[in-house]
Structure formats: structure tokens, C-alpha cells
């Protein structure tokens, strides 16, 4: 099959890759761009392990062709925080034991990041509903929810302090 050039902005960097029209975005991210943070857990849009952010929306990248991302702005887990300066969500997942095997974690944090953009003041119910497209087999969600709520509180406090 013929390859196509796809241009997109990934974690703030302009990227140009060659992809077959049938290639899923998750594989292009993982294998052509070396961003292996997002994982594959089902390839059927059920588990959320492959969640990334595209143009301000959480998207399961196993259910989108790379060519559909032409011109898109994509943020993956690798685009949140740096080793010396972790994102508040990353810090809180560590602090509250919001992960075990880590397989769901990049998708979960990326989803939570979007959720807090949409709703900076979520209730526990909002968080539970908001991440219900992301499955975790290890943690039972309790500490994930705690991590996200605590990150939200911290972000809000920082915002207030800045004002």
C-alpha cells in the first residue's frame, strides 16, 4: 500500500512521517515516533491504555488512523512534565499510589489531564465518570481518583496563589 506523508504537531514539535493509510495512530506514535508511553490493551476502544490528547480532546489512538491526524496537535504522556519537573498529576499519582503495573498509567494521566482542563473542580463522581473509559486492572481506581482530586486541588491552589 502507498505511504502518505502526515504532518502533525506532537508534544509541541512539528513531525512529518510516512504512514500507510491503514496504519493506526497508536502504532505510528509508538513505533515511528518512539513515543511508547501510550500502550495497547485492546485495539477496540475499550481500555483507554492508548489515550492521547488530540486538538483538545481525549482520543483512543488505537481507533484512529494516523492519516486522520493530519494537521493535528497531539499531546502524549511524554509531553506532560519532565524528569526534573513532573506534572502535578504525575506527582500526585506517585504520592497517592495511583498506579501499580503502570500499563494503564500514561493513558490514565493523559485522560485526567484533559478532564481537569474541562472541569478544574471535579467532584469524586465527576472524576469516576470522567475516567470510566480507562480501565485499570491493578489499583481498583480508589487511589487513582484520590490522585486526580488531589492534583486538581493543588492546581487550583496554585492558580489562586498566582492571582
Amino acid at each position: 500500500m502507498t505511504n502518505q506523508i502526515v504532518k502533525m504537531t506532537v508534544n509541541g514539535e512539528k513531525k512529518e512521517i510516512l504512514a500507510e493509510p491503514r496504519e493506526l495512530l497508536i502504532y505510528v506514535l509508538r513505533e515511528k515516533l518512539g513515543l511508547s508511553g501510550a500502550h495497547v490493551g485492546c485495539e477496540t476502544s475499550h481500555c483507554g491504555a492508548c489515550t492521547v490528547e488530540i486538538d483538545g480532546k481525549s482520543v483512543k489512538s488505537c481507533t484512529m488512523f494516523a492519516v486522520q491526524a493530519e494537521g493535528a496537535k497531539i499531546t502524549t504522556i511524554e509531553g506532560l512534565g519532565t524528569p526534573d519537573n513532573l506534572h502535578v498529576l504525575q506527582e500526585n499519582f506517585k504520592e497517592h499510589h495511583g498506579l501499580q503495573c503502570g500499563y494503564c498509567t500514561p493513558g490514565m494521566i493523559t485522560r485526567a489531564h484533559r478532564l481537569l482542563q474541562e472541569n478544574p473542580n471535579p467532584t469524586e463522581e465527576d472524576v469516576r465518570f470522567g475516567i470510566s473509559g480507562n480501565i485499570c486492572r491493578c489499583t481498583g481506581y480508589q487511589n487513582i481518583v484520590k490522585s486526580i482530586l488531589s492534583a486538581a486541588a493543588e492546581l487550583n491552589a496554585a492558580k489562586e496563589a498566582a492571582q
Partner: protein, 804 residues
Amino acid sequence: MKDEVTREERVTNLKGLGSSRKRVEDARFTQGKGHYVDDINLPGMLTGDFVRSPYAHARVKSINIDAAMALDGVVAVLTAKDLEPLSLHWMPTLAGDKQMVLADGKVLFQGQEVAFVVAKDRYIAADAVELVEVEYEELPVIVDPFKSLQSDVVLREDLDPNAPGAHGPRKHHNHIFTWEVGDEDGTNAVIDDADVVATEEMYYHRTHPCPLEPCGSVASMDKVNGKLTLYGTFQAPHVVRTVASLLSGIEEHNIRVVSPDIGGGFGNKVGVYPGYVCSIVASIVTGVPVKWVEDRMENLMSTAFARDYWMKGKISATKEGKITGLHCHVTADHGAFDACADPTKFPAGFMSICTGSYDIPIAYLGVDGVYTNKAPGGVSYRCSFRVTEAVYFIERMIEVLAIELNMDAAELRRINFIKKEQFPYDSELGWEYDSGDYHTAWEKALKAVDYEGLRKEQAERVAAFKRGETRTIMGIGLSFFTEIVGAGPVKNCDILGMGMFDSCEIRIHPTGSAIARLGTISQGQGHATTFAQILASEIGIPADSITIEEGDTDTAPYGLGTYGSRSTPVAGAATAMAGRKIRAKAQMIAAYLLEVHDDDVEFDVDRFVIKGAPERFKTMGEIAYAAYNQAIPGLEPGLEAVSYYDPPNMTYPFGAYVCVMDIDVDTGVPKINRFYALDDCGTRINPMVIEGQIHGGLTEALAVALGQEIAYDEMGNCKTATLMDFFLPTAWEVPNFETDFTVTPSPHHPIGAKGVGESPHVGGVPCFSNAVQDAFRPFGNRHTNMPHDHWRIWKTANDLGLHD
């Protein structure tokens, strides 16, 4: 030297036993820098994919690979014929049976591996899979183990029907084994004579561990050096190395097996799968690395399932409720091959722990294993070798007996618990329970939830329901479990002949930091965090200065891996013991440096001090430096130790759980209002990690009890092979759990720890199930089978006339 830090601060700085130390793994996982099998990409690597059988039972008449081979980018297509010259078309299972790697003349379950396509990328491989032409001739399908034992249809034509199997004589060509423990005649005599007898049949449905990361492997045969490297989702990398060597004929020292980060295992990643074998063969054939990673459907259809036990129980008691005898028979559906991962001498695992937490004077267990046209497996899914089945069985029998006695089920348990002073307790079916204090745990749990108050509330709710004021009813689920983990003593526990010890090797570096390597492998349990804590307390080096490494057979000492909650009981013990060896040598070095006799110094948190003169001391850092830089008479340089730990007994964690649930009788939807879990796992290493394990185990218990089922239709089609059909709970369905604990250390474990990862699953399943069944008890319910999905709950309500 002036010591400005208090002793208490020194203890805190170690982050040793009992510290809720944050996990060291999390920095990389939260940044997307975990390194899982599918993240491995080697130069020139090819991708493998399976042609799988659409039929549950069929003869394979022919396989034509021409069209597939003609496709650009396809490098090889392997069939059983290609594997046969290498004797790799079949492989041994962990249960002493054998299993086809690729279909050899017939297929025995839907999704069975028929051919292995190797291509340049996954897309080409998938195209080629479609192009392989397989001609099948359908055969009669058997999905019911009872029918299987009556059927003329021979499932396993490769087996001599008259020859004994791995576990003794077989009664029928589809029968695998009979396993019996206890005194059947004696038990029957007691039950026949008893005041009260309750009998019940229950089906513990087939389910699947379904970790979020599917199984996979990358094999890389380096023909120049004759070395095979195999990366994979292995819960037991060392066992995989030995099996790979035995199968392939490659000498074991030329095989390196690596388990990188593992995205959850729960028992799914214990066994050896055809995909691993095929990736190895394909790499040998093609001379380049070959990756195989299954997709979710393949995972659910073909890799190890769990449970599928048909259990029949009889329990007898006096009028006052003292249990006098227990009889249990299991018909165990093992699918097409017996691929259970149990210690060799235990073909039904530790099912004989089915007398539970109760002092039962006489008991019998019989298990019959049966072949059917379903996927092979029978692994311990988040439990230790069939303990989940055993605990579900006894906790349901207790409830049924309570109904028979017209007695409160909490009281019935109280009357029959093994008493604290009876430990170590020898159970009728042959186990020596190491320690326990069940009554204390039970009373604490009942008090925490205000059990009496709950029962009152329930009675009011029943009355309100009967008056037509509400359409919801309330259930109170109770369970008390005793786990049996930490397999196990080499004298009676082995897998494929290998004793189930485990190991730890420690090296202290000159600057006072350390690396420890273990024979286990974390799949999310946080070993890198917790094992460092055990060691910190033992050797006085801060956990933050200790690296824990597992999973690379070239560097780690041999061990049997991580499953059945065995890491803490066995490898954790090895860690402590190796630490003690370090400490013994450190003591000699300290004494030399302080110019006193060995016996005149003692260990104190992070140093050796002169007895009675604690201001004179040598820190572990100083001792480590001296070990490498000073000639000490009579001592070799260096500070290293290794321990292979053969546990003298299993450990027996226990716990008391209560679940309070509302059920809408018109929709069948349950709502969990409260879940209280008290766990006693002996000495607690890291309370934060323990709590996380409990949340996770309870969530999988909820899943199994309320819907997570692998189901087949009569044609042997797997009806639950996607996450659309196979229930994995989301954050929306899972409640917050309340955790609590008591501490009853194991008397034989070096630090008294018992293991915890699986307890919540073992105790949780009966608790959720009992809650559903208890809600219906006032309306005449006795027992209904799991999974209690909405439809089945609705059906129970309907059967009991609650919709009339």
C-alpha cells in the same frame, strides 16, 4: 564522631519495614517510560501472528500456505510439520500433560494456534494470516464436562485411553485425573448420622485474569555466538529458561530470558504459550529477532483461563451449629489440555484448604479433571492454586448451613472458627496453619460495620419491601477466609520437578549502597520498593540506596517466580536471610575496626555499636568501605551474600470482609454501599502498597462475582472474547473500600510476613456473592450461581416471585 541524628530519625531514614515508602518504580511509569515487551524493538525484527481455528473441534485436513508466502513481506509460515523435526510441535504443560504448539492433525478449541506467520510488519502478517488456507472437517463439540465423561467422542486421540495420566489412572478417555484427600467413608458416616445436613451444588464459572497488557515475547537468536535471548511476559523467567532449554536443546547457559516490566499478570503469565515457542523457532529459522504479541481477543480466547469448577458439597452440624463433617466433590473442566499451573503433587492445587477457617473434625475432597473443547489453562488467577475456589466453596456452604440451621451466619462462623490457642493447627485435609487469631479479627470487623445495626436495618427494609414501599432490597455479605500462600516447601512443592524455593543475592558497594537481585518478578506489586525495605531493616542501609533487580536470568539467581502470593513469603524470606549473612560478616568487620571481640558489638539500626558504649560505633557505610579497602585478617574482601530459601511451611494470611449492598429487583443492578476489609498478612512491610493490593484484589473480586465470565455456546464458540462482552469494571462501578488490619506474624517466616496480593481476591469473591444471596435470603433464596450480572440478579428476583 558526633552523632547528631536521633535514633528515631535513623530508623525513619532507612525507610525500612513498616514505612509507607513511595514507590521507586513510579517515576518512570508516570512519565511513560516503562519498558514492556511490546516496547522492545530490535534491528531487523520481524512480527509473528497466528492463524487460529474458528472451530472448537475439527480435523485439519490440509494447510495451504502458498498464497500467504507469495505476499510481499512474508518471510515464513510455520505449521506443525515444520516444528515436528525439532520435536516442538507439542510441548509439555506445567501439569504433566502436553499441548499442541501448532495444530497437529486436529484442533481442540476455538482459537487454537494452527499456523504461525512471520512477516515484515504486523499489517503484512495480518494479511498473510487471511491468506493461509486451512481445510477443516468439523467434529462433535463437547463443552460440558459431565457430558464429556459420558461421550464416545475421544477428544485427545494422542493419549492411550488405558494408560494412566500424570496423576494416576484415568476412568474414561476424556478423564484426566482423580485426586482425593481425606477419609471419604468416615466423612460419609458422620454426615449420615448428623442432626443437620446442608447440601449444595455450585458452579464457579470460568473466568480469565485479563491483565491490561496481553502476553507476548521477542526471541532473538544470535547465530554467531549461539545465544538465544528471549524477552517476554513471564511471571517465572527462570522456569521459562529451563523449559526453553529442555525443549529446544539449546544449553541453558546459552539462553537468557528477560522479563521486562510486566503490565499485570494475575496468573495469566505463568504458563508457556505457543506464541513464545513459535517466536523462538521463527527467530532460529529466520536468523533475526521475531516479536509476537497477542491481541485482546487472542488473550481471552487462548491463554490461560481460571476456575471452571463444578462443586458439590455436603456439610453436617449439631443442632447448636457445631460443624461435624464436610464432603466436597469437584468436577474440574480443564479444557483441551491440562495446562494448570499447580505444584506437581497437587493436580487441583490447594483446593484441600476447603475446610477454610473452621475446626472441622472430618472431611473429604475428591476432584475429577476432565477434558472439553475449551481453551486450556486453569491458572491461579490472583490466588494461590485454587484457593479462591476452596474459599468460595466453604463460605457458601457456611451460608447454606446457616439457612438450614436458621441461624445467623456470623454466629455460625464464630462457633466454628479455629481458636487462637489451636495454632499451629493441623487441618483434616493435611495443612498445618501457621498462625491465626480469627475471633479477634471477626469481632473487630463486625463491630466496625455495626453488624447488629445492619441486620436491623435489613429487617426493616424487608418489611418496607413487603409493604410495597421500596423496590430495592439490602444484602449483607460476610466472608472469612484463610489463604495458603508461599509455595512452597521443596519437600512437597515443585513445578516440573523444580523445587519451589526462591532466592536473593546481595552486593554491598564500597560506598555503602547496594544491589539485590531476586528470582521473582514484579508485575505491579512494587518489589523494587518493598524488597529494598526488608533489606534496609536487615542491613541498615537506607532503602533509597538499594537497587532491586529481577527478571534477567543472566544476572538474577534462580527462582520460581511471582504468583500465588509467593514473593514475600519465599523471596522476601530469602532477602531477609541473605541480609542476615551480610550482617554477620559486617559484625566481624565492625569488631575488627573497633578493636573488640565480635561478641562485644551489636547491630543498631544502621550501625554496629559496642555493647554498653553506643557512642563507639561503625556505620554500615564505614563497614562497607572497610570490606573492600582494608585487609582484615581471616576475612575475604568484599561484602556479598546469597540465600536460597526453602520455606519450612506455607504462610496462612486471613481476613474478615463485610459487604453491604442494595439491589434493585426490577433492574437487577446491585449498588455497593459499603465494603469493609480486614486483612491479617502478618508483619506489614509497606502499608501503602498493602492497601493498594487490597483495593486491586477486591476490584477483581467484584469483577468475578458480578460478571466477569468466559462463556461458550454449544458449538464451542467463545462468546466473551472482547472487552465489550467480558466485564472489566471501570471507576464507575467500583466503590471505595475501607481497609483495616490485625497483625499475627508468621512464626516461621524470618520477618513474620505472610503475603497479601491475593487475599482480597480470595476473600472478596464470596463476600460479594454472599451479599447478593443474602439480599434474597429473606425471600427464600438458598443459592444461585455466579456471576451475578444484572440479568442473573433480575432472574433470581423473578424466580422468587418478587416481580409478581
